[in-house]
Symmetry: C2
Subunit: 568 residues, 2 copies
């Protein structure tokens, strides 16, 4: 009898339950899942698809995930790097579905992306942590400073080697982690070192020798740093963002923590209605850097974008960037036809042009919209080039080097109750033409806390705010990093070679009820703005850092700006 009962229980365990349309990953795990949970994840996701499950429950445990048996896809991911990628959770096409983490940690190894959502609707990912056994960047402590040289020692997770007189970094599986830049971080303050700048490297290496066991002398012109600080070897590319969303609708990440990933934390393109609630990005214990690029990034999105109660720190790039994409005109083929191409390799393959899309045609010199047209047909030639035919004649004056962008729908953005600090570069790069509210956040940013970017000649990112409210925030001691990361705490950085255009690029901005605790006197730097009110803010000078800039102008307004009210 006991034997029969045991058999019965075993049988029950072997048949995964679809009750309540909930699939439990545990029911698909086996003896090998401890080494690599990927096969179990595939089996469980397959069961979810088959049974139209609404929830995949993860065990409240650490899941080790290897790339060997992961999903695979070639992906063009805006502002990250295209490649044939391995993916752990590939949710393509899924709808009305939740990955419920229950506090699970996904611990990945090697070049693999945690989540990919393409063409998804109504998806929630909740209560989980993402980390990697080995980071895509590398960290070393500066032990000596010489002339154009530093002596550095890597922490235990890295396997540095000298080959051919140059430094290469591997992990314990002999996966090579290529690097392309160096940046010094202050080990006490746990942020970029005061006014430290990036050193860019050629061909992903640096001349070096091992001068003592585990101590490497690296050589580069003007290279310097402070003994005891951390030198971060920036990852060569952004192959594996944590969450990639493309053509999605209604995506919620709730209670997700990212300790690491090899690219951006959340990168969404051509998607709408995205909510990040209580997301945390911070390094794992013992590391200086969290993720290797921007915390979040939204490209050609619409509907709403909400970030509430988030806490981001120590990324190797900005906190967010919300913008559209410009493709450049290479040739006017006929009054209704253009040959266009991408001029920023981070945009290759992002096929935003589609039949019926309303586009604006923008003069790349003035960034003024010279007219609109509706796409009739697109012939995609390859990831870089396309021919596009319009329903109407193009506006007079359209010419090579001008740019086109989608001009149909922009996201309304709410960024509220978040804590943004200690990353490389800038805070929020805001470029939506929808309604943007940034309220009750804390900022401690080495560059500009809020930057209005956009240009048609270098990054080719569409910006131009139309309704921006910045209220109730605390900006504390920003602009302590490389001076090129922003001209003031809130500033315009758009690339507009000719500012004599008939219209301002940014419009209708309200900055009210904020507190600026600043050692750097530069509060607001404006150009190409029409309509701005700065009112009811508190400015409290500090002496946290020695100010290293040239100008002490708190407010700088270029003459072409209109309707500017500043009441400090």
């Amino acid at each position: 009898m006991r034997r029969i009962l045991t058999l019965f229980i075993l049988t029950l365990m072997a048949i995964p339950s679809f009750a309540g349309r909930t699939v439990r990953l545990q029911d698909y795990m086996d003896a090998g899942s401890g080494r690599d949970a990927m096969p179990a994840i595939r089996r469980a996701l397959e069961a979810c698809r088959r049974s139209h499950a609404s929830v995949l429950e993860l065990p409240a445990d650490t899941l080790r995930i290897l790339s060997e048996k992961a999903y695979e896809k070639y992906q063009f991911i805006s502002n990250n790097d295209e490649s044939l990628k391995r993916i752990a959770f590939d949710l393509e096409g899924m709808k009305h579905f939740e990955v419920r983490g229950n506090g699970t940690t996904l611990l990945l190894t090697g070049f693999i992306s945690p989540f990919s959502l393409e063409g998804c609707q109504d998806i929630t990912v909740s209560s989980l942590t993402v980390d990697y056994t080995h980071t895509f960047h590398s960290e070393a402590t500066i032990e000596g400073v010489g002339e154009n040289a530093l002596d550095v020692r890597f922490s235990g997770e890295y396997r540095p080697r000298i080959e051919n007189g140059c430094l290469y970094i591997y992990d314990e599986n002999l996966i090579k982690y290529r690097f392309a830049s160096l940046l010094e971080f202050d080990v006490q303050k746990r942020e970029p070192a005061l006014y430290a700048r990036d050193y860019w490297l050629r061909d992903s290496t640096i001349p070096a020798e091992e001068i003592d066991k585990g101590l490497f002398r690296i050589h580069k012109d003007k290279l310097t740093g402070k003994v005891g600080n951390i030198l971060v070897f920036g990852a060569e590319a952004r192959y594996n963002p944590a969450f990639f969303l493309s053509d999605c609708e209604g995506i919620t990440l709730r209670g997700v923590t990212l300790h690491h990933c090899g690219g951006m934390g959340v990168i969404a393109q051509r998607s709408r209605d995205i909510e990040l609630d209580g997301m945390v990005i911070e390094p794992a214990p013992g590391r200086m850097i969290s993720i290797t690029a921007d915390a979040t990034h939204f490209v050609n999105c619409s509907g709403y974008i909400r970030m509430t109660g988030c806490r981001f720190c120590n990324m190797k790039d900005d906190h967010t960037n919300i913008h559209g994409l410009y493709m450049a005109v290479d040739e006017v083929l006929s009054p209704r036809k253009l040959s266009v191409s991408w001029h920023n390799s981070g945009q290759y393959g992002i096929d935003f042009l589609r039949k019926g899309l309303r586009v604006e045609i923008v003069d790349n010199r003035t960034m003024v919209t010279i007219g609109h047209a509706t796409v009739k047909n697109v012939l995609r030639l390859n990831k870089k080039a396309a021919e596009v035919e319009f329903k109407e004649d193009l506006p007079e004056g359209v010419a090579p080097k001008m740019v086109i962008a989608a001009d149909d729908a922009y996201p309304d953005v709410l960024i509220s109750g978040c804590d943004f600090r200690s990353n490389r570069a800038r805070g929020l790069l805001l470029g939506s033409r929808g309604r943007i509210v940034v309220e009750n956040n804390y900022f401690h940013i080495p560059g500009a806390a809020i930057l209005l970017e956009g240009d048609g000649n270098y990054w080719f990112e569409q910006s131009g705010v139309r309704d921006l409210t910045i209220r109730g925030n605390v900006f504390e001691d920003g602009n302590f990093g490389y001076l090129n990361w922003g001209a003031a705490c809130i500033s315009v950085g758009s690339g507009i070679p000719d500012r004599k255009g008939s219209e301002a690029y940014h419009r209708n901005i309200r900055i009210e009820g904020n507190t600026f605790k600043v050692f750097d006197p530069r509060i607001l730097h404006l150009y190409s703005v029409d309509g701005l009110v700065f009112r009811g803010n508190t400015i409290i000078p500090t002496e946290t850092y020695p100010y290293g800039g040239n100008t002490r102008e708190a407010f700088k307004v270029s003459p072409e700006c209109k309707n500017i009210t500043i009441e400090p």
Copy 2:
């Protein structure tokens, strides 16, 4: 009236004629086609598809082709390198079609493949030449020989630069051409230098300095060479073969000349009935090297393979290689189910496993087939791994590290009236189990002229001839290159760790009526062969080169061979 007539003629010219279902490329060319014929090629191929044309006529001219507007596809190409490729003539899915070259030269620039045929039937490409404005490998003249160093000067088409103390090579468009090896070529004999070996490089560069304008001193342990000879910097990867055939049937290349390409000349996989008639592969004037890898290569093919009246020389690898592919067993999941994966990165993504396929299961140690099974289902996990379920129980003893291969159909091979010489490495690597006839060819090869390869532990290439006739050929002064390129003029090189298996790997070989003019006494080196007749051949010793080997055994037969008749 004259005006009307002109208008009428112009109208006629503007409407491409589909008469006789021939499309003329010229009718699709415009003012920009001189700079880049690619848009015209796309328009013409589109017209061919639309009109079901049977011929695309090329103009008897030079067509410059850039990659900018070329077709694009991610391709897994056996024994070449996977990547997202640009393609000039993408004939995917076309049937009963001829690209008639009329003597046209396709002159390509950069990383672009000339021809891609996937799922094609009854296609002929005739009378054209393929060349590139810049080669994927690089060539320099040795001007000085030092200790572990050579001083080299590149010819005008290369733009060498020192960066970070290392050498990099660009073209005039600043495209970087990475290199992974060095090999010396004899400038008088125009072939690999006597017993020269490859120097393999790490991370695609070599420490160097510019010691005089245009003169570069490169450093590597034991590096040596002869002043006046050419040092060839081998291309890092094989991205752009000239003709890629996958899942094709009935493909004829007639009168095609390849001066260059970035990979193999013709690489066919999972295809049948392929004829190369009068194909020439030779370097363009002023260059030492023709193409950067094997002249031809056939993987998992069937039907017939014919090479007649061809002339191949100065490739950076073998003349042909005809074989199948082994996937390795990683885990026996059940009596009918295996977890399998590729262990040679050049085979990633070659999905030969399909429902209904008969496979052999081979002991990787003895290379003996231990049984067969028929595929019921395949779950492709990614480019490297799959799970395969069989209709029958697997043979007893199947275990991890054993290998599986298709065992349903093999090609009959005819190689006749060809001239093979002066390449890197070997001549013909013959691994089909169909009928193979090699007759009336000329061989002057630095390694083995005819090599029987195959192994289940390193390259994972299926071989094992069953019916091989070698007759009426002239073998002249082979094995003058690196001694590891073959143990004799005709030899076995299969990787069989344990030769005590119950069956020989190669069977039924006739070598008759050939002439061996040889400075190297090693004619025939056999192991794991059952059935061989060497009869009626003429051996003429020469003193063309000083022999550098250790053994003077003309015939060497390992004890496990059976039924061997040698009548010199």
